[in-house]
């Protein structure tokens, strides 16, 4: 069914943007972490979005007979992977810090708080846009249901 598909597509984007917000939150939380599990300072992470079909193979098989269009297929979005950013972090002179090197410099995480805030706004706007899309689809659906009412 067409309309449920558009909701599924928008939901895939809500999911992807929420994951992106999680990553941003992690970056902001660790903006000062000079220790990490991999050793060394925390490295900022980023998500890679990838377009992906939303329907299961079963659904697709069912729909083949009723396909009403040609051309490229429609896709939702998913987070393909989370990648670490390898740009170097800033070195801060702080000889008393336990993570300071022989010369007294501490390598800070490569998180730029400004950049993360901008990404955060971008992610929440994208989230809102998809919520709007679901709202519009919902309104269409309820109008269609009105047809049967006398």
């Amino acid at each position: 069914m067409d309309i449920t598909d558009s909701v599924a597509i928008s939901v895939s984007a809500l999911d992807a943007q929420r994951r992106r917000l999680n990553v941003i939150a992690s970056n902001l939380a660790n903006a000062q972490s000079t220790h990490s599990q991999e050793g060394g300072p925390y490295r900022r992470r980023d998500v890679v979005f990838q377009s992906a079909p939303v329907a299961s193979p079963f659904q697709r098989a069912l729909r083949v007979s009723s396909m009403r269009m040609d051309g490229p297929s429609l896709e939702g979005v998913k987070v393909a992977r989370v990648v670490a950013d390898h740009k170097p972090g800033q070195a801060v002179y702080d000889p008393k810090h336990p993570d300071a090197d022989a010369k007294g410099y501490v390598i800070m995480p490569n998180v730029n708080v400004m950049e993360e805030m901008v990404n955060m706004i971008s992610a929440s706007r994208a989230y809102e846009a998809n919520v709007q899309a679901i709202g519009a689809t919902r309104a269409m659906w309820s109008h269609a249901l009105e047809i049967g009412r006398s």
Binding site: D2, I3, D5, S6, V7, I9, S10, S12, A13, A16, V48, F49, Q50, S51, R68, M69, D70, G71, P72, L74, E75, G76, V77, S122, A126, A129, N130, Q132, A133, A136, T137, A139, M140, H143, A144, E146, I147, R149, S150
Partner: protein, 133 residues
Amino acid sequence: MTIFDRTIGLLERAMDLRGTRQRIIASNVANEETPGYRAKEFQFKDALSQAAHGGSAVPVRVTHQGHIMPMGGVHALGRITEVPAADLPLDANSVSLDTEMAKLTDNAMHYNTAATVTAMRLRQLLSAIRDAR
């Protein structure tokens, strides 16, 4: 003479095509930040005008006396085209969120109009049937 004239069929087709377009717009909005994604556009003017003139996108033939010719055909076929990335930004994604949101509203409004008109049309028929009693 039929109860369901061409108007109902045309409205149905319009809603069908608008529903598909909604899906395509949702896909564009969802992929607003996917690197390399190309915005998609759904062309259905031809399909709709064909419906308005009673033509069928899929040719139908009567080969048996029991066959019924469909009223204006049931297969509305649109065409999906890709919008090229005009100025090739860094991630070469051709989705413009403002355009997509405007299209989303426009499409939903058209769909809702078609749905409302269909409901009105059916109510007209219903009152005609009831008054005849």
